[in-house]
């Protein structure tokens, strides 16, 4: 996906939503004791069935990452830098079952990993994203059922969830021996809600769910959607893919917040390699990152994030697609967040990446092949809220 340095419209978008399907805290405080993908909230179980919903869309350079294969990965705008994507559309039900239960049905951002799909700050404190985020699905089409566990108040708040979805970032359930993907995990919150712990896993068939490409005048344009792992089997064999994320956040006090994230993933290799980055060996990728954010003044924050991430076989197309052969990347990110106006957040950010491994990972040349093993990036990000 060619992108130039300089000024970029990453996206501009709208969310039309009802009730607790709206991003929590943006319009009103949550009214449920359990929010889909967010987890348990303080308060008693509701006694009514509640039907909420949301629909969101955006246009911009980020559009390619939020398209759904088989739904809005249109050919007609595959050569546009700024594309339209319907990022989410779902029903969000609350049921007075057990200690409180939610059902999400439709197309929705994944629950995996510390950083979330919504472009909001908080919880996404940084303008850039982690390597862990780049190794997980962006969204799912399917259903997610989450239920709160009846813990004693002194033991904190907890919930478990199970989802049945299609392929990563796709509306279908795979080809050949393909079947649904499964999401499952658990969440725990301390009684004072200052410590959050989440363990989340997605498991399914990773065979043939790579995003499609549209070729025009001899140039291949990714259409968006699909996974970032190209694994193919000549016999439609089921190729296991699993990704597990573990997230721990803690608010030390009103000013200082900490985050730790660990991620492990595996993709079984296939037996076809139509492209150099196709995965023909069993591949493992894993990493950790830690970060903090500190409030300097009422509308001014400073943050830092440190990452180490290993992709042993460069399974991710973001690695293999630029000629990397597998290795470890280290990254340090520093930023300042200034709420300059109610509708504008300004974030100057510096990110330094260093890659140790086979081939190169940064600064692809016009032939698409990376040329360097380090990269220093400066970003001046403006978040608009309207």
């Amino acid at each position: 996906m060619p992108q130039d340095e300089g000024l970029n419209l990453q996206h501009i978008g709208l969310i039309v939503c009802k009730g607790d399907a709206c991003p929590p805290g943006r319009i009103a405080a949550p009214t449920r004791n359990l929010l889909s993908r967010v987890g348990p909230m303080p308060g008693p179980r509701g006694e009514k069935v509640v039907v909420d919903w949301a629909l969101s869309a955006l246009v911009g350079e980020d559009g390619i990452y939020w398209k759904t294969k088989g739904f809005d990965d249109w050919k007609w705008n595959a050569d546009d830098a700024e594309r339209l994507a319907f990022t989410q559309w779902y029903l969000d039900l609350y049921l007075p079952l057990g200690a409180g239960t939610t059902v999400l049905l439709g197309s929705w951002h994944t629950t995996l990993a510390a950083e979330i799909g919504y472009a909001f700050n908080p919880p996404n404190y940084f303008a850039s994203r982690t390597y862990a985020f780049a190794a997980t699905p962006a969204k799912h089409v399917g259903t997610l059922v989450e239920t709160r566990l009846p813990l004693a108040e002194s033991s904190g708040l907890a919930s478990v969830f199970l989802g049945v979805t299609g392929d990563w970032n796709a509306v279908d359930f795979g080809s050949g021996a393909g079947g649904p993907s499964f999401l499952f995990g658990a969440r725990w919150r301390s009684p004072d809600m200052r410590t959050w712990f989440d363990v989340e896993t997605v498991y399914g068939n990773g065979e043939d769910d790579f995003g499609d490409v549209h070729v025009e005048n001899g140039i291949a344009h990714p259409r968006g959607g699909g996974s970032q792992f190209l694994a193919l089997s000549s016999t439609d064999e089921y190729l296991d893919r699993v990704v597990t994320s573990l997230t721990l956040t803690h608010a030390v006090n009103e000013r200082l917040s900490l985050v730790f994230e660990g991620l492990y993933g595996f993709q079984e290799g296939g037996d076809l390699a139509p492209l150099p980055f196709a995965i023909t060996e069993d591949s493992t990728f894993y990493g950790v990152n830690v970060g903090f954010r500190y409030q300097l003044l009422p509308r001014l924050y400073a943050g830092a994030r440190f990452e180490a991430f290993v992709d042993e076989e460069a399974a991710n197309v973001l690695w293999g697609g630029v000629g990397a052969g597998g290795g470890t990347v280290y990254a340090t990110t520093l930023n300042v967040t200034w709420e300059a106006l109610p509708w504008v957040i300004v974030r100057p950010e510096l990110k330094y990446d260093a890659y140790d491994g086979s081939g190169h990972l940064f600064a692809p040349d016009r032939n698409g092949m990376a040329q360097h093993n380090t990269q220093l990036l400066g970003v001046l990000n403006f978040e608009l809220r309207f």
């Binding site: 060619p2 990452y65 109610p342 509708w343 016009r366 990036l377 970003v379 990000n381 403006f382 309207f386």
Partner: protein, 74 residues
């Protein structure tokens, strides 16, 4: 640069709307245009969001496939 000028009217309307309720930026544009009855009476909101970034790297990057290195922020 011209593409960003398309959003200037939107920002002007938003800034006027926010002058009245600076603590509620999300949905301010829609409320300024259509009122707040949909949100108040039915709990339905129309929220706007966007990200614009100025990026510069130490290498000359004609093309990048590293979204997390390019201020990807959806």
């Amino acid at each position: 640069m011209q593409r960003f000028l398309h959003f200037l009217p939107l920002l002007l309307v938003t800034s006027v709307a926010l002058a009245e309720e600076p603590d509620r930026p999300y949905g301010s544009l829609f409320r300024a245009i259509a009122g707040d009855s949909l949100e108040r009476d039915h709990g339905i909101a129309v929220l706007g969001f966007g990200h614009v970034s100025l990026s510069e790297a130490n290498h000359d990057i004609p093309a990048s496939r590293m979204p997390q290195g390019r201020a990807r922020n959806t």
